[in-house]
């Protein structure tokens, strides 16, 4: 109970402050729908913290259109059922926009409710299906899986100039989708795709497929699945003496990949969105420092600050249009080009897709550290 007292006192102060702040019409409410508890709690809390920090900065600088911003958070636990409840709650609160959620599933479950109530929403989910409804209220602040595939294809064919490319995936819908997009993008770039195959995730023994690949003498093997298989594929590839470069999709970017591959990890290329530490922009450095100062820990991952970028774009939209009408803001955002975000320039397509996201290619060094090798 003793521990509760400061919290109670604090909330009493906050309540008093809110009462004195005046009527509700003077504030603009921003909703956060994120998995604040549960499996993805660290990501959800980071999103909530990031949004609160941004709002604090805006309020300190005089607010938005002369009004103060207020954050209303709802915990969806990363679950679709909870997401639907959150959506109704945030609609009733009368928020202007909702930031989140973290998972594609929870985002999709709430999307239609926000659309029907003309509330803007921005999320980091990467599932291609999020923008298929073409809701004018929805803005993806991360990248679509197919964007990663196009980047990878261009990098393999144009920059590295590989002549014989093999594409592998497991049977999961995510990996197959990424591999299929990569394969067609490689062909579109004029690359020579010599083989596209699938491995059964978790079977551990990939030598049969790799031996078959060996006879084709590839110079690049791209794997779109997860690190638990990717690390083993890399190890067995080197073991069999296949002298091809190994390029892993974003799900291979995990310390366990290096452990599984052992010494073979060196020289592996991994394609992923920049991790926060690698973001080159000044806005990124400032924001990450402010976050560290306020919360005493770094941002959990790049996904949290992608969502902050979504919020920053919406705030920018309100400032530019001098309007709180969501349709007006949305129309403006659909034409937004190269707004300087924390995670790089923010541009939206008419279906709410963020375009021109930047990817990094990391080369794994002998000590398992990363070196960025694209520019």
């Amino acid at each position: 109970m003793k521990r509760m007292l400061p919290k109670l006192a604090a909330s009493a102060v906050v309540c008093a402050a809110l009462v004195t702040a005046g009527s509700a019409a003077d504030v603009i409410k921003i909703g956060v729908q994120a998995p604040i508890t549960g499996k993805y709690a660290n990501e959800g809390q980071s999103i909530d913290n990031g949004v609160r920090l941004t709002v604090e900065q805006v309020n300190a600088a005089g607010g938005l259109l002369g009004k103060q911003l207020e954050v209303v958070s709802c915990d969806d636990e990363g679950k679709a059922q909870k997401a639907a409840i959150c959506a109704r709650k945030l609609v009733n609160e009368g928020v202007l926009a909702v930031i989140g959620s973290y998972t594609s599933g929870a985002t999709e479950a709430a999307q239609t409710t926000y659309y029907r109530n003309k509330i803007l929403q921005t999320s980091d989910g990467t599932s291609d299906s999020l923008t298929k409804h073409k809701y004018w209220t929805f803005f993806r602040n991360s990248f679509q899986n197919s964007a990663q595939a196009e980047f990878t294809a261009k990098y393999l064919v144009k920059e590295k100039g590989y002549k014989k490319i093999v594409v592998l995936s497991d049977y999961s819908s995510y990996a197959v989708g990424l591999a299929d997009s990569a394969a067609s993008a490689i062909k579109a770039e004029g690359g020579n795709l010599i083989y596209q195959g699938k491995i059964k995730s978790g079977t551990q023994n990939f030598t049969a497929v790799l031996t078959k690949i060996k006879s084709m003498e590839p110079d690049a093997i791209y794997f779109s699945g997860y690190y638990t298989d990717g690390g083993l594929i890399r190890a067995q590839q080197i073991q069999l003496g296949i002298k091809a470069d190994f390029i892993g999709g974003d799900s291979n970017d995990n310390p366990d990949f290096m452990k599984l591959a052992g010494k073979s990890a060196e020289g592996t290329l991994l394609v992923n969105f920049p991790t926060p530490d690698f973001l080159p922009y000044d806005t990124a450095k400032e924001f990450l420092k402010a976050y560290q100062d306020k919360y005493g820990m770094p941002v959990s991952s790049v996904w949290a600050i992608m969502n902050v970028d979504g919020l920053r774009a919406i705030i920018h939209g309100v400032e530019q249009t001098k309007s709180l009408d969501t349709k007006t803001i949305s129309d403006y955002l659909h034409t937004l080009r190269d707004f300087p975000g924390i995670t790089g320039p923010v541009s939206f397509r008419e279906d709410g897709e963020r375009i021109n996201t930047k990817f990094n290619v990391y080369e794994v060094q002998a000590d398992n550290s990363y070196k960025i090798i694209n520019n």
Partner: protein, 300 residues
């Protein structure tokens, strides 16, 4: 041609692991007419126990023969004890019960072991260090074989030959065969049936432990539920070879490994399991007692 030979090497390696595990199934079945479904989970347990022993005692010693021998001896001993306990707690009380009860008990024991692994070591993949064996690679006419693969092939053949000689040439082996034919008659001849069954579990679990360690060293990533996958494959191998028959289990394991590698290599890895079970059905239709099942009259 070297592609085909490479697939043969790959297939034989995984096949000898299947064979080692299959021996555990077949020996227990031969003596007790019980399918020990917990056997696969013992294999998984051995990989986890071996990893813990290695990381706690030898993590700094790198590639050392002492470390490897100690890990193998200790792990095999631990798993043999677990195997004996398993028999004592889960199977002996049901020895006179209908056979179905014992099978259900075996499935339950398997679940207990699997979940115990998850509770002790956690649900995430654990990873074996890469320096347990030297990472030497030999290449003969374009066919690649690693030091680990050589060790697997060598070690499992030695163990299988030793087991074959033990069963067929020693007094103890004769006693095991006698119990397999008729427990009551063996008892009348002065054979201690409980002791024989205990020995069967020690040998079977020990061989499974060796297989589990090799799986960990060869593939590196181990998960708490991997016992089911290896157990099922080895069980199929034991049936194809003729369950209860020791050379049958060896033959079945090697054959299954080769079959899998060739299907994955020349058709698709997605079809490997489908074809494995089709092979099982075909064998059961045309030779219901397994490929080597009929030649040997007594089942051990």
């Amino acid at each position: 041609m070297d592609i085909f030979l490479q697939q043969l090497v790959n297939g034989l390696t995984i096949g000898s692991l299947y064979a080692l595990v299959a021996l555990g199934y077949t020996m227990v079945y031969g003596v007790m007419k019980l399918i020990n479904f917990a056997h696969g989970d013992l294999v998984a347990l051995s990989a986890f126990a071996g990893l813990t022993i290695y990381t706690n005692i030898f993590s700094d010693s790198g590639t050392s023969i002492v470390a490897v021998i100690t890990v193998f001896m200790f792990t095999a001993a631990i798993i043999a004890v677990v195997g004996v306990l398993l028999e004592r707690l889960a199977y002996r009380p049901l020895r006179t019960a209908p056979r179905l009860s014992a099978v259900v008990s075996a499935l339950g024991a398997g679940l207990v072991i699997q979940n115990a692994i998850m509770l002790i070591w956690g649900p995430n993949m654990k990873i074996f260090p890469s320096n347990l064996f030297p990472s030497t690679i030999y290449e003969i006419n374009g066919v690649v074989i690693t030091f680990t693969q050589l060790m697997i092939l060598l070690f499992s053949s030695v163990l299988m030959i030793a087991l074959y000689l033990f069963i067929n040439k020693t007094k103890m082996g004769t006693a095991i065969r006698a119990v397999a034919i008729d427990q009551d008659a063996a008892k009348l001849m002065g054979i201690n049936v409980n002791k024989i069954i205990m020995i069967i579990f020690i040998i079977g679990s020990g061989l499974g432990a060796v297989a589990g360690l090799f799986i960990g060293i060869y593939y590196r990533g181990i998960t708490f539920d991997m016992g089911w996958m290896y157990g099922l494959s080895a069980f199929v191998a034991a049936i194809i070879g003729g369950i209860g028959n020791i050379p049958g289990a060896m033959f079945g394991g090697l054959m299954l490994g080769l079959f899998n590698a060739l299907i994955s290599g020349y058709i698709s890895s997605a079809w490997a399991e489908t074809f494995t079970f089709m092979l099982l059905i075909v064998v059961l239709i045309f030779r219901p007692t397994g490929i080597l099942g009929e030649k040997v009259a007594e089942k051990v």
